[in-house]
């Protein structure tokens, strides 16, 4: 067993978090160093994982060396490797922004932040449904603390709603897992897929009900219509590095929807087949339209960006909803892009509000100019181009991949119409926001203000990730093409987990 690196993306942040906790509220610089080193080494492990997954092997790691399907498993395929790498990179930049701005407010920022990373990485790697629940709870409990981090009435108000809604979600998750366990007698996802295919007629309705309940919970997490109402306020109220990190939280929902509807409830699963084929894309397209409408109607840059997060989830899941390898490849590529860029825009919004004074913050109305319009304006401009999906940036490539993939599906017309129209409206909304924030301005406030200084570095880092996605679009999209193939042929995954015997 030389596969022990499989637990490192969970273990490194977890242990570093514990060490940070031991320091209590003192030694801030030490904790900053620990966090940076931990996240860099997680990126290193994740990079190794991606290179391993790129050779098309699926690595499984039984925790405690229990044989599958009895123990808890970590499974590494192209999809989970890419997700872990995305999480770790985003986390590094969000953390870097955090140590330039908010970690003075309390000594426990580093601890909670790293715990969140441990939970998210675990959710991406685990191959066991109940273990997924446990990692969900780890990442949620950290999110509960992070969402109110920094305090203040607005955060507490949205925080309490965020917490209560997610607690209901967790209860539904357990009921869903319980039903599926009652029917299939297993918690291992690959084994579940095998047992679901053999389910008898009398149990089929129960199994499908359990599956729909699970998918409903995953849709709450990914902020799909009609269960996205918790997102805009809580993301807009959260402090900047937290909002940037939360760009990955909705993607955990997207990942679980994708994983469950292709592996356990995908093609050729007998009476449990194709649970979401008819529903996912329409609902996702509605989500995309409502997210864009919300972004157009937003009064604050942060709220606008929160709605754009919803719109991007709609775009990604509309691609996933086609259930072809090509479309899933486009969705994954677009997911990488949108995660980085929405995080970057949250950070830019924070720079804007820190320089416009308490009265105006980031409201999209004429107000005082920012003190460093050139730098912040440039960063905003690049983010706006990338989010709207204009060429030459990666958002454009992702959308083209999705549009191309939809040609072979029956809903081509709807998909093209909605994706292109919403892109256009997103562009209008962002242009208006930019005009209000950077052109229709009064004289800047002449009091002490926070200069950007090092805060620009994480944003530039995120934009460099976008640039990398663009320049290396060829190899990266090839990786995702193969990932799409792998996801649409779950037998590969099932064989890797259970061995050839069970088939």
């Amino acid at each position: 067993m030389t596969d022990h690196f499989m637990v490192l993306p969970v273990l490194i942040p977890l242990i570093s978090a514990m060490v940070c906790l031991l320091f209590g509220t003192r030694f801030r610089d030490v904790k900053r160093g620990i966090g940076i080193v931990a996240l860099l080494s997680t990126i290193g492990v994740a990079g190794y994982m991606v290179s391993l997954a790129h050779t098309d092997q699926i690595v499984t790691y039984g925790l405690g060396n229990w044989p599958s399907p009895f123990g808890i498993l970590f499974v590494l395929d192209r999809l989970s490797a890419a997700m872990v790498l995305l999480t770790s990179m985003l986390a590094l930049f969000a953390f870097a922004y955090g140590i330039t701005s908010v970690d003075e407010k309390s000594g426990y920022f580093h601890f909670i932040f790293l715990m969140q990373i441990a939970g998210v990485n675990g959710a991406f790697l685990t191959g066991d449904m109940f273990n997924l629940f446990v990692f969900f709870e780890i990442l949620l409990l950290s999110a509960y603390v992070l969402v109110i981090y920094g305090g203040g009435p607005a955060r507490i108000r949205t925080g309490i709603q965020f917490v209560l809604l997610n607690l209901v979600g967790s209860a539904l998750f357990l009921i869903g897992v319980g039903i599926i366990y009652a029917v299939t007698g297993t918690l291992n996802m690959a084994d579940m897929a095998v047992k679901a295919a053999q389910v008898s007629l009398e149990d089929a309705a129960l199994l499908r009900a359990g599956g729909y309940l699970l998918i409903l919970v995953f849709c709450i997490k990914s902020a799909m219509f009609p269960v996205y109402f918790w997102l805009p306020n809580s993301y807009a109220a959260a402090s900047a590095p937290v909002a940037a990190l939360f760009a990955i939280a909705t993607k955990v929902g997207v990942y679980t929807v994708l994983r469950s509807t292709t592996l356990v409830f995908g093609n050729d699963r007998g009476l449990a087949s194709n649970l979401m084929d008819d529903y996912l894309q329409p609902v996702a397209l509605i989500t995309l339209m409502l997210g864009t409408a919300g972004a157009l109607g937003a009064h604050k840059l942060r709220t606008m960006n929160a709605y754009l997060v919803i719109a991007s989830v709609g775009t990604i899941l509309a691609g996933v909803g086609m259930y072809t390898a090509e479309a899933i490849s486009g969705s994954l590529y677009y997911m990488m892009h949108s995660t980085f860029i929405s995080a970057a825009l949250f950070l830019v919004a924070d720079m804007v509000l820190q320089q416009r004074g308490e009265k105006h913050l980031d409201s999209l109305a004429p107000g005082p100019a920012v003190r460093e319009p050139l730098l912040i304006g440039m960063l905003f401009f690049i983010c706006a181009i990338a989010i709207a999906g204009l060429p030459p940036v990666s958002g454009f490539i992702g959308k083209v991949m999705l549009l191309k993939a939809s040609v072979s599906t029956p809903t081509t017309f709807e998909f093209w119409a909605i994706v292109l129209t919403t892109s256009f409206f997103t562009l209008i909304g962002l242009s208006r926001a930019g005009t209000m924030l950077f052109w229709k301005t009064d004289a800047p406030l002449d009091r002490n203000y926070t200069t950007v200084k090092f805060k620009a570095l994480p944003v530039i880092g995120l934009l460099l990730c976008i640039l990398t996605l663009t320049i290396y679009g060829g190899p990266i999209s090839e990786y995702f093409d193969a990932a799409g193939q792998q996801i649409m042929n779950p037998n590969q995954y099932i064989n890797a987990v259970l061995g050839e015997v069970k088939q």
């Binding site: 507490i156 709603q161 917490v163 209560l164 209860a171 357990l174 009921i175 897992v177 366990y181």
Partner: protein, 112 residues
């Protein structure tokens, strides 16, 4: 017709109904109590998913024919612990919200 399954299912139903009713209230305290009742119902439900048997051991022994399923019991233990932590945090947050916002309304606004 008053079987063990019927009794347990009714208990779960009553718990869910009470929990839902309380969760739809406008103040934080009843909502948290409602969530707690719901999580009890979920725990009972999970426990029942391993089929209800009386007086059967969960671990393999010689000369025993019927077993109770150990997995749901382990899951329930985990769920109880997680639920306890979550409830503790929710109560702390509710108290904090009452102090900061001056009201225990869920939407943070004073009113009926």
């Amino acid at each position: 017709m008053l079987s063990l399954e019927f009794l347990v299912a009714s208990a779960i139903g009553v718990l869910v109904a009470s929990g839902l009713y309380l969760m739809l209230r406008g103040r934080t305290f009843p909502v948290i109590i409602g969530l707690t009742l719901l999580s009890y119902a979920v725990n009972l439900f999970l426990f029942g998913m391993g089929r209800l048997v009386i007086g059967a051991p969960p671990i393999i022994q010689d000369g025993v024919a019927t077993y109770s399923d150990p997995i749901p019991q382990a899951l329930v233990l985990t769920a109880i612990v997680i639920g306890f932590g979550m409830t503790a945090y929710a109560i702390t947050l509710a108290v904090k919200a009452y102090v900061v916002l001056g009201t225990d309304q869920i939407d943070g606004k004073e009113g009926a």
